[in-house]
């Protein structure tokens, strides 16, 4: 019998029962909840007269609708306000721990989970949010669910699931200076496509992945869903353990020792067999920039926007033409000639302290280019913000002309007041460049924090590998 993959192990440990039809009842250790995908689930519980199975396993936080400007005045939009208040009420009624909008620990759900040690290796982690795959960076099985499943987990602490297939993406070699986890994952998506991981759980492995910090691994796993995979994960190593040591909700004392001993087995066996294997060479990856309306529409900073005439497949050609029309591009432009109007540094992909440090290092001593009408930094959590301020990063950004905001999802999906106007072009560290994602008619180019910062200063996309750091 061949060995087991990390995913096989996590799956087996959480199987409560196997049903005759091949599905399994899978136990969920940690349930993260935010205001957008939960109100109908709580309402469902109430209508059925049910209570949460284990309210102590749930952590809630409002993040999508919260304003990123001063919070004192509350939320101006009454519909957004109602949604956040509904979360507050539901958590109070059902005894669920919530970091409310004015809590210093509030932030994007996928930033605060690991930051608080509330998501741990070996756990099953779910949230009504597709970017839940982020937590897989800790060696957890973490995936996004719909609202009906949110209700199912609240009521039963379980989900009925069909096991996915195993896929491994191995990235060997070393990333060049200035090339980050974001570039790595965009290059992976460019290679396998946005449906490349559909039906699979992806394990990210290889020298270049092991060399990433935990924050970097979170960036990679975060975008597993952009490659179609519900779950992405990285094996536990010493970095994982050191990252979690001393976190508020991480186990303490004897429990910590016991947990760590167990976590050390959270890797694929050497003889494990994957249904699909992809290999990339990190040394060949340059800073990435998306040019279209799907994350797979990506090239590097030395590249050009493709020409529809060169696409043979008619369905793809039509999609390409439509994407370029939306993006206000003709095809054939050099990426380095594209000039953004706005810059957004934030989101569950890239709003951790390491991301802000990388961006600040580029910005230090420079000013925003004249064509940049707005550049904003939205830290991933209150604690990230506080840490950045302690390091003086906020000053670097402010002095360059950036706005320094309060934590939340912000312009990644523009549910709050932060959004693009029609036709505006944005260099964004977020995860989706879909039509209308950052505002109706808004044009998104996905990049790393360092690349976004460099674009803000240069007024166009530039190769941050050759940046003149001050």
């Amino acid at each position: 019998m061949s060995g087991r993959t990390l995913y096989d192990k996590l799956w087996a440990e959480h199987e409560v029962r196997r049903n005759d039809d091949g599905t399994s009842l899978i136990y969920i250790d940690r349930h993260l909840v935010h205001e957008v995908t939960s109100p109908q689930a709580f309402e469902g519980l109430r209508l059925a007269g049910r209570r949460p199975w284990r309210s102590g396993a749930v952590l809630a936080v409002p993040d999508h609708n919260v304003p990123t400007t001063a919070r004192g005045a509350g939320i101006a939009d009454p519909v957004s306000r109602l949604q956040v208040e509904t979360l507050d009420r539901n958590c109070a009624e059902f005894g669920i721990t919530e970091f409310t909008m004015d809590d210093p620990r509030q932030g994007i759900v996928h930033v605060i989970g690991p930051e608080e040690g509330a998501t741990l290796p070996g756990m099953t982690v779910v949230c009504g949010d597709s970017h839940t795959s982020t937590h897989g960076a800790l060696g957890a099985l973490a995936f996004g669910i719909g609202t009906s499943e949110v209700e199912h987990v609240l009521a039963t602490q379980c989900l009925v699931l069909q096991k996915s297939r195993n896929m491994r993406v191995t990235v060997d070699g070393t990333l060049a200076e200035g090339v980050s986890a974001k570039d790595l994952v965009l290059a992976i998506i460019g290679a396998i496509g946005t449906a490349g991981g559909t039906g699979h759980a992806i394990e990210f492995a290889g020298e270049a992945v092991r060399a990433l910090s935990i924050e970097g691994r979170m960036t990679v796993c975060n975008m597993a869903i952009e490659a179609g995979a519900r779950a992405g994960m990285v094996a536990v190593d010493e970095k994982t353990i050191e990252y979690l040591r001393g976190r508020p909700y991480a186990p303490k004392g004897e429990l910590w020792e016991q947990a760590v001993a167990s976590w050390r087995s959270l890797h694929s066996d050497a003889d494990a067999v994957f249904d699909r294997e992809i290999c990339l060479d990190a040394g060949r990856i340059a800073p990435q920039v998306t040019w279209g309306t799907s994350p797979e529409m990506v090239t590097d900073i030395e590249g050009r926007v493709p020409r529809p005439a060169e696409e043979a497949d008619p369905v793809r050609r039509r999609d390409l033409e439509r994407a370029l029309e939306y993006m206000g591009l003709k095809g054939g432009e050099a990426i380095a000639d594209i000039r953004p109007d706005k810059v957004f540094i934030g989101s569950c992909t890239n709003a951790r302290i390491e991301d802000l440090r990388a961006a600040a290092a580029v910005v230090r001593g420079y000013r925003l280019a004249d064509n940049i009408s707005l550049a904003m930094v939205v830290p991933g959590s209150g604690l990230v913000k506080r840490q950045a301020e302690a390091e003086g990063l906020d000053r670097i950004f402010r002095e360059a002309g950036f706005e320094w905001r309060e934590p939340g999802c912000s312009m990644c999906l523009a549910m709050n007041a932060d959004r693009l106007a029609p036709g505006e072009r944005c260099a964004s560290t977020s995860n989706r460049n879909f039509e209308g994602r950052q505002g109706k008619g808004g044009r998104t180019h996905l990049v790393s924090p360092a690349m976004a910062a460099a674009a803000a200063v240069a007024g166009r996309f530039v190769d941050v590998r050759h940046w003149d750091y001050r």
Binding site: D77, G146, T156, R318, F434, K440
Partner: protein
């Protein structure tokens, strides 16, 4: 959940790949705390020329005449024909609620994104995966024949074309049964409450740190 057995419905074609859930229901409509009322805003940014916000009267909007859902021949459609990777992106179940609220009960595509696919079954919407060549053929037929209808029979797992040809489709047994019976999945899981408790007891001994309440 409304059950699904058989549907005889008009087909509307949406000829583009990678239709994401942001396109199906834009973010400003996710602020609702209800499950219903999303239909008028299905594909809002493609369907209207003006910018939509929650609470707007659909009658006051400017429809985009080029968008398929606005074409007279497709009014009343309950079957959506789509391309690869339909429903990719965000996990928002509002996307399925919007399709359902509009009147779509079946989506046919060569492939679906995982979370969207799973969300469909929780709401009485049947996603059918057919090979790309068959989907392509259906696209051509729909365009060529106004009033093109299909009969979708979940019990027999067959789609019947207007000329009587039948196309079989695959679907896993648990999901099919839930859809056929309109079953409450939570109720089904709670029938195994004792097994869940036994599992928790065992895991509490093996991995007690997982059971420390927040």
């Amino acid at each position: 959940m409304e059950k699904f057995e058989r549907l005889d419905g008009l087909v509307v074609p949406l000829d583009r790949a990678n239709v994401d859930t942001d396109a199906i229901i834009p973010k400003q409509f996710l602020k609702s705390v209800q499950r219903s009322g999303f239909g008028p805003n299905l594909f809002d940014e493609w369907r209207y020329l003006d910018h939509g916000e929650p609470g707007m009267d659909p009658a006051s909007r400017r429809p985009n005449p080029d968008f398929v859902l606005n074409q007279p021949r497709y009014q009343g459609a309950s079957i959506l024909l789509a391309r690869d990777n339909f429903g990719c992106g965000s996990s928002r179940e509002h996307a399925v609620w919007a399709l359902l609220d509009y009147g779509i009960r079946v989506v046919i595509a060569p492939s679906f994104a995982d979370i969207f696919y799973s969300n469909c079954f929780k709401n009485g919407v049947l996603p059918i995966t057919l090979d790309a060549a068959t989907v392509d053929r259906l696209f051509r037929s729909v365009e060529a024949q106004p009033g093109y209808r299909l009969i979708v029979d979940l019990v027999r797992q067959r789609i019947t074309l207007p000329d009587g040809e039948e196309i079989a489709f695959e679907i896993d047994a648990f999901r099919r049964d839930c859809l056929l019976a309109g079953l409450d999945e939570i109720g089904l899981t709670l029938q195994h409450a004792d097994e869940i408790r036994a599992y928790e007891e065992r895991r509490r001994r093996e991995a007690p740190w997982l059971f420390v309440d927040l």
